[in-house]
Symmetry: C2
Subunit: 288 residues, 2 copies
């Protein structure tokens, strides 16, 4: 992650494609929040996480939360019969701990990491540009699983939505973005998508940079990214907002209190089993 003060939208194209390819080795499981954790039910998303961890060790990173105590217990119960080798908690009280040898070693033999929910800025401020971020990257590059729900989902993109009003048409100027961990490039992620009426703000983010694909992920729904494609898992939908063919947008001209105008957006509503090729920007229905 670049330092928060120096990062800019323009900066993101600096790294090259080869670098991008090299990174896409593991599996990202990006969850829109409130995934089913009830041990008496199917838990399709957590089941997929466990399947990809293949009997190995999963680290539950509760850094997004100020009071993470409850999370570990809840996930331990939820994962109990899903075939993990073991589940270990990683919490960072202060940024200064993010270089501790003991904290770092937790990730050495991990097959996956799962970021729980909370405040996405807390994740990046605690571990951004630290040894932990480097270890997460290394885990991903050696084929590991990086999963995250809610705030833990937002940080996976290079640019993350931090603030922006829900349930209102995007007003030009009303959007706060911040650098994420950046495992997934050219994508911006929003969570709790239909549930919090965030269509307007995701469209707003795409209006500001049309080279970026908007991914709106519903609760109990995940985009599972492997290689250049993702598959949808869960009970809701993943919305893809593609501004490639936009014929008009007033972002550059209009006053900052104006409502957004943008013509010819392409939108895909993807549900369980649908696939999406991030490179070609094309969806594929299940079983085809």
């Amino acid at each position: 992650m670049a330092a928060p003060g120096t990062w800019s939208l323009a900066g993101k194209t600096g790294r090259d494609v080869a670098d991008e390819e090299r990174r896409r080795r593991g599996c990202l499981i990006i969850i829109g929040g409130h995934e089913d954790r009830d041990p008496t039910r199917e838990r399709s998303i957590l089941r997929e996480v466990a399947k990809h961890v293949r009997g190995g060790k999963l680290v539950l990173a509760t850094v997004a939360s100020h009071r993470p105590e409850g999370y570990f217990d809840e996930y331990q119960k939820a994962f109990a019969d899903l075939g993990l080798g073991n589940l270990v908690e990683l919490y960072v009280e202060e940024r200064s701990q993010a270089g501790d040898r003991e904290k770092l070693s937790v990730l050495d033999d991990a097959a996956g990491i799962f970021f729980s929910g909370g405040d996405q800025l807390r994740i990046t401020s605690q571990i951004g540009d630290t040894g932990i971020e480097a270890k997460v990257r290394a885990l991903y590059e050696r084929g590991g699983v990086v999963a995250g729900t809610s705030a833990g989902a937002a940080v996976m993109s290079e640019t993350m939505l931090v603030k922006g009003t829900s349930k209102v048409t995007h007003r030009i100027g009303d959007l706060h973005m911040s650098p994420g961990i950046g495992l997934l490039r050219n994508v911006i992620i929003d969570q709790h998508f239909a549930e919090r009426g965030r269509f307007g703000r995701l469209i707003g983010a795409v209006a500001h940079d049309r080279s970026v694909l908007g991914l709106g992920i519903d609760e109990d729904t995940a985009a599972m990214v492997e290689g250049d494609a993702f598959r949808v898992i869960g009970s809701g939908a993943v919305y893809v907002v593609d501004g490639s063919d936009v014929s008009y947008c007033n972002v550059a001209d209009a006053r900052s209190a104006s409502a957004l105008s943008m013509h010819d957006l392409r939108v895909h509503v993807l549900s369980d089993g649908d696939r999406f090729d991030l490179k070609a920007r094309r969806p594929t229905p299940p079983r085809s």
Copy 2:
């Protein structure tokens, strides 16, 4: 309006194009609810209504509400300095009154009618297929203004959304539609659009009949339809959801609890001054 019991989606193509053309003579002002009514402010939408009434008589139809008393006072204040000839209330306590000569005569010399908010089913159940509906149609056909806000907006289309969960991705089977007054064909209208997170349900309505264009109208925002086009007025946006190019949709195959999947929707976000050609299904930016 066909009788609620006999109406069906298939039925709506029965009338011919000449009939459609004949109808499009007046002006429809379709408002997403909560339009600015504060007499100390601009009131751009009500100003446009008054402008089209051209010093004539505007009938305020409060039939959508069970307790309409407050509305008339509020609109009287809001329209006070906007140059109406006069403002007269039309309320129908029971459907049996909708044929009363006295009620009907209110519309004889009207230049426009404005349906206030409330329950859209109350509008159609009180005046659908009655003398009042015929008079509204006649007013429109002789070039008058038919305006409506919130529930009053929903009834203008042939098919109106009555129920359907907001803030959730559309579930196949979770949608209740009912016949509207039908001044605007091949369109389905949803109001309080961004504010109530209704993207999912409008997309759901379009999934069920892709020949229909979805119009989602924000609060304090209106689509003003004249001829085959509309112009956007107000502080929010009008969302157009066009399913013409949809490449895949699971509505026919999937179980009714499944989340919707629909690929290649075209979406336009239109704000103040934007125009949209309903026949060509194409938007035009302001001043072009």
